[in-house]
């Protein structure tokens, strides 16, 4: 048992036995093994004492790694192993569960997959998310589509339905939104942006969008509505963890232009994408080796340290899928030229357990996604929203906060140095704007710190040479991660995993 686990257990016991004083909130940091990760740099790992062979090794059990394993397994290839650092696979899509509800620790929804997202649709058919097709359009299981009401925005002291600001907006705002919509529709007609992004058009004027920020793009088109700027910035912070001044116009427009407009619906579960993780973990259980810290990736071998028995092993492999965050190549591989091009946004995600729902005040009733205008956070998602219960007394809210400052490095430092109590106060004071009584309702706040949550699609990265170089296999190693697409979404992670698996299958081991 680690010291952290002991502390969590202790906190749990205290919370369970002692009577909670009014307004006192329990909780702790959970998850991501920063300490173990740092062993890599500290040199405290013993040299390998054992050696074994495994045809295919997948490093990292996030969505990319699990998808690679899923695809191999689906194609009757079983000679692979997934090495996962944490106790449980799942990466950004991991989840937690308490007495009240399951809840996500990161990725929490998937938009309805586009036609190009072939493998996502295949996975969804296998998992019963897609139950059939009418006229080529998938039929989704109702319980997995986000229930209505989906989104609301707290603006001028009132909740409004939807995230496009409408309260107190002017004709100018409406015109700008309309013009922006027309611009996006124009790109959509050209199939400029697709998911997976590899299928996007390569026309020069489109790729040129990658060299400016989406903020500069809006200004260059004389779109100056503050409401539109807020909305686009919110979208960038939400999907990319960055301020829209740091996001390339290509990536920014991709967010709006890659999906069907009329399909506003998303797929979601109480535990977010953890629902998919859970099913993939079950399917791949014999292949997954948790608590395995990979510390060297050679041309045909992988060295890992077993966190449990404190020994190191070398695996000789014919194919290696490097499915952990791409930047790790810097520490694991001898050569990783161009890796500095990969920059990452840190995130703080908190799960708040509430004794009761916040009071229903002015405006729209509580939705799945609840956003506060002009807050640095992204608001909160209600984990119990997909519950079929009519009466839901307690709930869990998942609070998202991207540390979207200019320097990811100093933001990461801020993330790790800030005490739990300070974060808890920060969250509660943010939420007390729409919910003045929030401190009385919250029983527990657990916080996950993601040092490298998302790759940053800053101008020049997506269509620059470094990202593209890492998408090609080098010898026996193939990278597989949404990092290679330039932004962190489920479909891209799955696509990269499947592509690497196809590469393995083509080699006919």
């Amino acid at each position: 048992m680690t010291r952290r686990e002991l502390l969590i257990l202790g906190a749990g016991l205290v919370a369970g036995c002692g009577e909670r004083g009014r307004g006192t909130v329990t909780g702790s940091f959970v998850g991501a093994s920063h300490d173990i990760g740092h062993l890599l740099r500290g040199g405290a790992i013993p040299a390998p004492s054992r050696e074994r062979r495994m045809p295919v090794v997948i490093i990292g059990g996030g969505i990319a790694g699990l998808s690679a394993g899923w695809y191999l397994s689906r194609n009757a290839f079983q000679d692979f192993e997934i090495l996962e650092l944490e106790n449980e696979a799942g990466g950004n899509a991991r989840f937690g569960k308490n007495r009240v509800s399951a809840y996500p620790w990161g990725a929490h929804y998937i938009p309805l997959p586009t036609k190009e997202s072939r493998f996502v649709r295949e996975l969804f058919e296998e998992l019963g998310v897609i139950t059939g097709y009418t006229n080529g359009e998938p039929i989704y299981k109702d319980e997995y589509l986000c229930f209505d009401p989906q989104e609301r925005l707290y603006l001028h002291g009132r909740w409004q339905e939807g995230l496009v600001p409408t309260l107190g907006t002017s004709d100018r705002d409406h015109e700008d939104f309309e013009r922006f919509r027309e611009i996006v529709d124009g790109y959509r007609a050209r199939h400029a942006f697709t998911i997976p992004m590899e299928f996007s058009s390569r026309e020069k004027d489109l790729l040129a969008l990658d060299s400016v920020s989406i903020r500069d793009f809006l200004n260059s088109r004389a779109l100056s509505s503050p409401a539109l700027h807020w909305y686009v910035n919110y979208a960038c912070r939400d999907d990319y963890g960055c301020d829209y001044g740091d996001v390339s116009a290509w990536a920014g427009l991709h967010y709006f232009g890659s999906r069907n407009v009329d399909e506003g619906s998303v797929l979601t579960w109480p535990e977010g994408n953890g629902w998919i993780v859970k099913r993939l973990r079950e399917k791949l259980a014999p292949h997954i080796r948790p608590g395995s810290l990979v510390f060297r990736v050679g041309d045909d071998s992988v060295d890992y340290f077993d966190v449990q028995d404190k020994t190191s092993t070398t695996i000789r492999a014919d194919r290696i899928i490097f499915a952990c965050a791409t930047f790790q190549a810097r520490y694991l591989m001898e050569k990783s030229d161009g890796i500095d091009a990969f920059e990452y946004a840190p995130w703080m995600v908190a799960n708040l357990t509430l004794d009761a729902f916040p009071e229903q005040r002015a405006g729209a009733p509580i939705a799945w996604d609840n956003v506060i205008y002009d807050s640095d956070s992204l608001g909160y998602v209600v984990a119990t929203h997909q519950s079929l219960r009519v009466h839901q007394p307690e709930t869990v809210l998942t609070y998202y906060y991207p540390l979207a400052g200019v320097s990811p490095h100093s933001e990461r430092e801020r993330l790790l140095k800030t005490e739990w109590q300070t974060w808890a106060d920060f969250i509660l004071s943010d939420l007390s704007k729409p919910h003045p009584e929030i401190r009385k309702l919250v029983r527990n706040i657990d916080i996950m710190r993601w040092g490298h949550a998302m790759v940053r699609p800053r101008p020049g990265f997506i269509w620059g040479e470094h990202r593209r170089r890492f998408t090609h296999p080098v010898g026996r190693v193939h990278f597989a991660h949404s990092d290679l697409s330039g932004f962190s979404i489920f479909e891209e992670a799955q696509y990269r995993g499947v592509i690497a698996a196809q590469w393995v299958l083509e080699s006919r081991l």
Partner: protein, 498 residues
Amino acid sequence: MVYALLVSVFVIASCGLVYELIAGTLASYLLGDSVTYFSTIIGTYLFAMGIGSYLSRYIGKGLVARFIRIELMVGVIGGSSAAILFVVFAYLESFRLILYAQVVIVGVLVGLEIPLLLRILKDKLQFKDLVSQVLTFDYLGALAVSLLFPLILAPRLGLVRTCFMFGILNVLVAVWTTSLFRDQIARVSSLRAQCVAALILLMGGFAYGERLTTFAEESLYTDEVVFSKSTPYQRLVLTRWKDDVRLFLNSHLQFSSKDEYRYHEALVHPAMQWLKAPRRVLILGGGDGLALREILKYPSVESVTLVDLDPEMTRLFSSNELLRHLNDNSLRSPKLKTVNADAFVWLGDNTDVFDLAIVDFPDPTNYALGKLYTTTFYHLLARHLTDDGAAAIQSTSPLYARKSYWCIVKTIESGGLLTAPYHVYVPSFGEWGFVIASKRPYSVPQVTLPGLKFVSSEQLPGFFQFPADMSRVDTEVNHLNNQILVRYYESEWHEVSQ
């Protein structure tokens, strides 16, 4: 001293009458039928007073101390009688037993008072003066209170506080008498202590007793509130005006006892009469036991499962005398299995199949309730029906909420079930709609069950005819991810209320 005691007579007389008036008022207030309750309570009370007068002969020594103790008892028992009756009405089954027991006890004690006072005063006045003066003050007290009670006390203070106030007056008489006769009675300090204890008790009741009756709430309802309670799930309020008892859940009317038979006969019998000897029945919602009452009229029914979220609903309707009378004791039927659970979750977890499902949920006034009218819900419901089975579903008003009603019909159909929409007129609700959902086509049956007040073979075919102002309109299908029904419902009822 004589006049002091005569003032006491005045007070005692008014107190005695107040307890009688309060018992009568409360009984007719909570149970209705005021003529019966007033006359039986007055009769019982007078008879009990007679017993008290008779028993006074057995009191010999220590007359004054006895009198003081009796005053204290009248004060405490009589003073708290209204509060006790309110609590008993909500929580005990034998309301009437306790009511008459109280009337008897207070009557006996009050019957003792005047004979004892007469004996205390007998050496101080001549017999003719004694009788004339005591009885004069006695009747004056009665007059005073009979005017004050309906004009000032009941409307201003409420029954519970009025009652406690007169209890306090009884105790003050005891206090005064103690001090007047302090030289003639043994153990004065013990009596004084008892007086103080009784005073504290009654004053506490006076201060806090108001919470029992929630008069503040009455302004919300046209009729008098006879019971109200907030459960973790909803606010239950029962009102009554004459013999009309109404139940409100979160201030939405659920039924009026005047015409609920129309609603419940219409909900149950069109489907029941069509089914051939249904054996297993499911009721979702309907914790009032009124639909169940109709179901139990069929001898073929072997078992009924009633799923209602709120245990307080089923408890109240299976224990309160008045409500048990309404549902004919249906919630105590040995055929019944009551489950207090979330209906959607229960259907998902349970695999039983039924010949008939009665779906009697509150209207889709919010997104939480809206879930119970979605394709997902009806899919799940269909899995719990036998191939020959049916579901009868309350579906709001096709007149006031036309799109909402037809949206429910369309949603049921999109789940693969056949529908037979129908409507009836329920005066307290207006035009009301239902849907029979089944796997084989429904045909209007003959009504063979005797003793119905509303549904009949002649009337039934008309239920299924919709005049132009509520005929079918096209709507969207209600899914969990669009909750279009809640939006229709909100805008339609919003228009009605304007």
